[in-house]
């Protein structure tokens, strides 16, 4: 065992900034990271024991205890629950004889909850040793557990055909489906990889590239919407020995899965976008930070990078441009939503805990290894290729005035055709519902922009998707009339934020948890009117948090309080001023039963 760990450390040249990779490899090789492994890593990297432990204990997919020969991580997203997760969970527990969070005594199977794994269009879904199992049913669970007990390798446990497109690529071989429902400029097939690198870049200066991107009015697709051209310009002008281009493929917002589809079907477009960005800002190295849940694409993506090197689309003098050297490596995460925040993502790529940094300085000035760094969303980088290919003016004709271009939407929930849709900005919620085969009469709400976005009701379905109105990173969850909005959606989302807080701000560490307790009190029919006021007031405290996660962690409750107040009012005791939350008869029940007495309560 010690030699394997030793070899892993050697593979990464004893580089402490590659601690994530080392831990990922040890976890995947041994099923956990033992104390001995931690000591070994600390000694070899010449860092302290607690340094290894602080990174390790931060990420969901690292464990200091064995996770089982078959580690099953069942998605706990709201949509997974809507699609029948509970029965799948119960069957898993029944068939294995253990509860979630446990490992069977023989060390064969471990059951764990996990936040949204980016499969909302094919739920319930689970990861088993990194392989995706989608559309789970109790029947399917029984088959899987039977196979496991027979010792079948995970990759042989699939019973359905492989998914469409590159999902069946020999290096992928997964049952995941793309579910591309609508194509636009980004997803269209008429793309010749390398065309911009060969035909356009050699005739343009970096400044001209930036100018063209500015002309397109493109704004970042991750949700915050910062103008892409401006970001590049800042980074180009910043001083640094080296510069870096990061692709943020850590899509963790529950309900988004469009990056999964791009990584599967248009990875060359993405890599070309990174090369363009590198040319524009003068960067030497690119890092594509991909969420752990998409690790099943690792070999496929790395093979494509190798192919690009062979065709001079990466490496030295790219595209024949003298002195333009750039290469890309893939950095996997290990399960932390907050790493989608750009500075947390950089920290993570440096081998640290994914805690957002204080700003200023911004990453364009001081990013990865303190060097100027651009962090762009997957979709942004893909769009850039089309901007340079067809011109900024061409691109700005799509969409609305303040939101140019197209947007990839990840649509899931109560609709006929969940999947990825590429639409122009300015699309209304109402049109969207019609597009995906959801009958507006049967829909009580749409969650726009995932848990950190807003929950809107039918009276707002005429609103449009764009930065000026409903800004979104692209997650749309449709919620039918038959759902219990507060329990199925609001509570689930709030629990998500509690689970995913990095904890370094006093506000985000505690307030969502306190709000969750209060919501549970209300759902338990013990709420009073003051509780609703408290929730609104407490939500304001979160605005003092450092990053977007903390600042928006109250949104599920706050936006539902705003738009679905009647649901809360229906649950609370409107005529009561105070509820002690203490039930005396319940508290003394067991002792009364034991003593054979009837409680006398005044």
């Amino acid at each position: 065992m010690a030699t394997t760990v030793q070899n892993i450390i050697k593979k990464y040249n004893k580089d402490k900034t590659r601690l994530m990779d080392i831990l990922i490899d040890v976890q995947s090789d041994q099923g956990y990271i033992s104390k001995e492994s931690i000591s070994k890593i600390a000694a070899e990297l010449d860092i302290s024991h607690v340094d290894v432990e602080q990174t390790m204990s931060f990420y969901h997919f690292f464990s200091d205890k064995p996770t089982g020969k078959y580690a099953i991580y069942l998605n706990d997203s709201a949509v997974s629950n809507m699609m029948g997760r509970q029965k799948v969970k119960e069957t898993l527990e029944k068939e294995t004889g253990i509860a979630f969070g446990q490992v069977t005594r023989d060390g064969l199977i471990g059951l764990f909850d996990t936040s949204c794994i980016g499969m909302n269009d094919q739920e319930p879904a689970a990861l088993i040793n990194g392989h995706v199992f989608n559309n789970l049913t109790p029947f399917r669970v029984k088959e899987i557990i039977r196979d496991i007990k027979e010792g079948k390798p995970v990759e042989q446990m699939y019973t359905s055909a492989y998914g469409d497109g590159e999902n069946r690529n020999v290096l992928v071989k997964t049952v995941v489906q793309n579910n591309i429902q609508k194509k636009g400029p980004i997803l269209s097939e008429d793309y010749i990889p390398g065309i911009v690198i060969w035909k356009k870049l050699p005739q343009m200066t970096p400044e001209q590239v930036i100018e063209e991107v500015k002309k397109s009015n493109m704004r970042g697709r991750g949700g915050a919407g910062f103008p892409t051209g401006l970001k590049w310009e800042f980074c180009r002008k910043a001083k640094g020995e080296k510069k870096y281009i990061f692709c943020n493929a850590d899509e963790g917002e529950p309900g988004t899965f469009k990056d999964r589809v791009i990584l599967t079907e248009r990875p060359k477009l993405l890599f070309e976008g990174m090369v363009i960005a590198a040319y524009a800002v003068g960067a030497d190295e690119g890092i594509a930070y991909v969420r752990h849940e998409y690790k099943y694409l690792k070999n496929y993506l790395e093979n494509l990078l190798q192919g690009a090197r062979e065709r001079n689309l990466l490496g030295k003098n790219i595209g024949g441009i003298e002195g333009f050297d750039f290469d890309i490596r893939i950095q996997f995460g290990a399960g932390a939503y907050v790493c989608g925040e750009e500075s947390a993502l950089i920290e993570s790529a440096e081998g640290k805990r994914g805690e957002p940094r204080d700003r200023p300085p911004f990453p364009v000035e001081k990013g990865y290894l303190d060097m100027p760094t651009v962090v762009n969303n997957v979709e942004t980088l893909c769009s850039v290729v089309k901007v340079i290919l067809n011109g900024g003016e061409w691109y700005s004709k799509f969409g609305t005035k303040d939101s140019s271009g197209t947007k990839l939407l990840s649509i899931s929930g109560d609709c006929k055709y969940p999947g990825v849709y590429e639409v122009e900005w300015g699309f209304s919620v109402s049109d969207m519902l019609e597009m995906v085969g959801a009958d507006e009469e049967n829909i009580q709400a749409v969650q726009v922009g995932g848990p950190s976005g807003s929950l809107i009701g039918p009276d707002e379905f005429d609103r449009t998707l764009c930065f000026a109105d409903l800004a979104t990173g692209g997650s749309l969850i449709i919620i039918g009339n038959h759902r219990d909005l507060l329990t199925d959606i609001v509570l689930n989302f709030t629990e998500f934020f509690v689970e995913e807080s990095c904890g370094s701000c006093s506000t985000c560490r505690n307030i969502p948890y306190l709000m969750k307790l209060k919501l549970e009190k209300i759902l338990d029919a013990r709420g009073v009117p003051q509780d609703l006021k408290d929730l609104e007031e407490w939500g304001k405290i979160l605005k003092f948090s450092r990053c977007g996660l903390g600042q928006t962690a109250g949104n599920p409750i706050l936006s539902s309080l705003r738009n679905f107040r009647h649901l809360y009012e229906g649950k609370i005791q409107m005529d009561k001023e105070y509820d002690s939350e203490f039930d005396m008869s319940q508290a003394v029940k067991a002792s009364c039963e034991a003593a054979g007495r009837v409680p006398i309560l005044n």
């Binding site: 024991h49 607690v50 340094d51 204080d358 405290i541 450092r546």
Partner: protein, 232 residues
């Protein structure tokens, strides 16, 4: 030669050296911005969020934001102070802080801030978490019940060759401070003392040295927190 910049705090004209952090810039002008995780001479972190001020309408932590020309800062307003008070309250309810039995009472910055902000009963329910005392280190007792996770010890205490002795473990509400078993075991008397001194609360205490200054004669027994800055 350093450049001086003009800026305003709550409408009052101020002057400070460009680029220093707002907390210091304010103090130089006799204005107190409450802090808890901040400690002079150590890279700031913005963990407790108490020093949050509005800079040109946006919340920013004063301990991490450098002052620039023409900044308009709001500091002492009812809205900001109420959120600060809420943060102090939340730090009380997330741990187990029993001031009367705490060795740090009277020189505890959390307690002093609670007095300054007139905290009576927190607006949040007490969580009464089950937390452990770690007495395995030969020189320091770590009481997680009182820890406010300010990161001071993590940031300020390093070995001679720059290695971390303290670190965070886990995340979110499970977050805690851990001491390196090996480097912590070999910690020098001087560093052990320093870590105890910089802890704003009673989470890091020295062994066998309690109550050397009697209660009633301690720092904040004599004058409230923040007075030093305001006297400038």
């Amino acid at each position: 030669m350093s450049t001086l910049v003009n800026f305003k705090i709550d409408g009052v004209d101020c002057l400070a050296e460009a680029g220093i952090y707002l907390v210091e810039a304010a103090a130089e002008n006799g204005i107190y911005i409450p802090t808890l995780c901040n400690i002079q001479g150590v890279k700031p972190r913005g963990a407790c969020r108490i020093c949050t001020v509005m800079v040109n309408g946006r919340p920013m932590t004063a301990c991490t934001t450098p002052v620039t020309m023409g900044m308009e800062i709001q500091n002492d307003t009812p809205e900001i102070n109420d959120i600060r008070k809420a943060i102090i309250e939340v730090l009380f309810v997330e741990g187990n802080h029993f001031c009367p039995s705490c060795e740090k009472s009277g020189c505890c910055e959390l307690q002093a801030l609670a007095y300054r902000f007139r905290v009576m009963v927190p607006r949040f329910p007490f969580l009464f978490p089950r937390r452990e005392v770690d007495a395995s280190n030969p020189k320091i007792i770590k009481d997680h019940n009182r820890c406010i996770l300010c990161k001071r010890c993590i940031r300020a205490i390093k070995t001679e060759d720059g290695k971390n002795i303290f670190a965070y473990k886990k995340r979110g509400i499970e977050l805690e401070i851990i001491i390196d078993p090996e480097l912590g075991g070999k910690i020098t008397d001087e560093l052990a003392q320093k870590s105890v001194d910089i802890c704003p609360v009673g989470a890091l205490l020295p062994r066998e040295k309690a109550y050397q200054v009697p209660i009633g004669r301690r720092k904040y027994d004599i004058e409230p927190i923040g007075i030093e800055d305001e006297k400038k």
